[in-house]
């Protein structure tokens, strides 16, 4: 019985405190039938890219509250590409000033979400970005 699930890596790069938001999103994605690899706090971009490679994920979700997104996100994108994983869709959640959103999208980020974003929206966007994968 062949089965294909959307695989998502949820990671929390940077040095800021807690991962409650990331955990809420991870559980919501699980409840939407996805397989979510959760890596925990204080991940470097190198650790995130390595985990994405080993887990062959379709999506990387980054939770960033520290304000360091303009440094962390391009680095993650660069490393994914260097590993041959340019097909991986990157989503960013956290405290992101409005003016940074278009810049992140230009870099190749598929979706950006503020702290209050409904998880249904994130789920719908992930599904829309991966039309070939059924859950």
């Amino acid at each position: 019985m062949p089965e294909r699930k959307i695989r998502v890596l949820v990671a929390k790069p940077g040095l800021d405190g807690h991962d409650r938001g990331a955990k809420v999103v991870a559980r919501a994605l699980r409840d939407a039938g996805m397989e979510v690899v959760y890596t925990g706090l204080r991940q470097t971009p190198e650790m995130i890219a390595e985990a994405a490679l080993q887990e062959d994920v379709d999506v990387v979700g980054l939770s960033i509250l520290s304000g360091a997104h303009m440094a962390l996100v391009p680095r993650v994108l660069e490393l994914l590409k260097a590993n041959g994983q340019e097909h991986v869709r990157v989503f960013v959640g956290g405290i992101i000033p409005d003016e940074d959103v278009p810049r992140l999208k230009e870099m190749g980020v598929t979706g950006v979400y503020g702290p209050g974003a409904p998880t249904e929206q994130i789920i719908a966007d992930i599904r829309a970005a991966l039309p070939s994968v059924t859950v």
Binding site: P2, D31, E46, Q54
Partner: protein, 329 residues
Amino acid sequence: MEFVQSVLRGDRLALSRLLSCVENDVPEGRLALDALFPYTGKAHLIGVTGAPGTGKSSLVNQLALQIRKKEKRVAIVAVDPSSPFTGGAVLGDRVRMRDLAGDSGVFIRSMASRGSLGGLAAATAAVTQVFDAAGFEVILIETVGAGQSEVDIARLAHTTIVVEAPGLGDDIQAIKAGILEIADILVINKADRPGVETTERSLRTMLELAHPVRKVFRHHGQMMELNDGVVPQEGLWIPPVQRTVATDGRGVPELLESIERHVAHLRANGDWMRRERARLQAEFDLLLQEALVSRFLAKIPPSKVEGMLQLIQERRISPREAVYQLLEN
């Protein structure tokens, strides 16, 4: 098969994609498994099982660090449960394995159980075969940790480590009965916590019941006794009980020594070969059954099977008679 060549060359992206093909049981994955099979049979498979939260992932992290000191390449397969309602899963074992990041001699793969109940996923064995062929010398397999008797892991692994922790209360007693029988090595993790002595004492008692530690025998008309720690002549393995602290690595070098002793024991008394043979035969039998059933069903009209089921449900014919009739004409 470009996949297979890349995997054998050590290409990590190809390896990762192949693991997905095998996990999803797609034709590409099956063909690759056939092609890789001649390269398998070298790795040492170590299962790590035990109740939720006993420290399996933390221990796997420490074991991998310790094994890496010996220059051996380590693959980790960590299985977590899928939700029976949504089919989704949160795979969280990597959280405890961050010490291994950045080491190209380590490859960690998380798997969801996808409805399997025995503590592993249906494709876990196949995934370990890919790692084996790819040249990983040690493969650590962390089970779901349902705490029930997880025979699947004992069948797959050469060495099965059962992890317990102090202070889990009395419900642990029920768990132990089934799970002790599969343990090659018993670990009391969280040995920094109060209650280790109690846990160790009750474990040893249970162990003695499962494996008589003292061998009593008659010699020149006198009762003789082989004492604890002496490996009897017939090469019985008595599971050692070991304390560890997986958060800082205490006890882990000693645990690795026990693992190495266990491998030496398996090889010396022929159990390594016997286990291998039993595992391969089980795999062969299963595939043969599946193939025969689907070939047989392809030859008869579905309506005929449907009709038989109807007769069975009406209690006009027993299931055994129905099978017999189908096979006979």
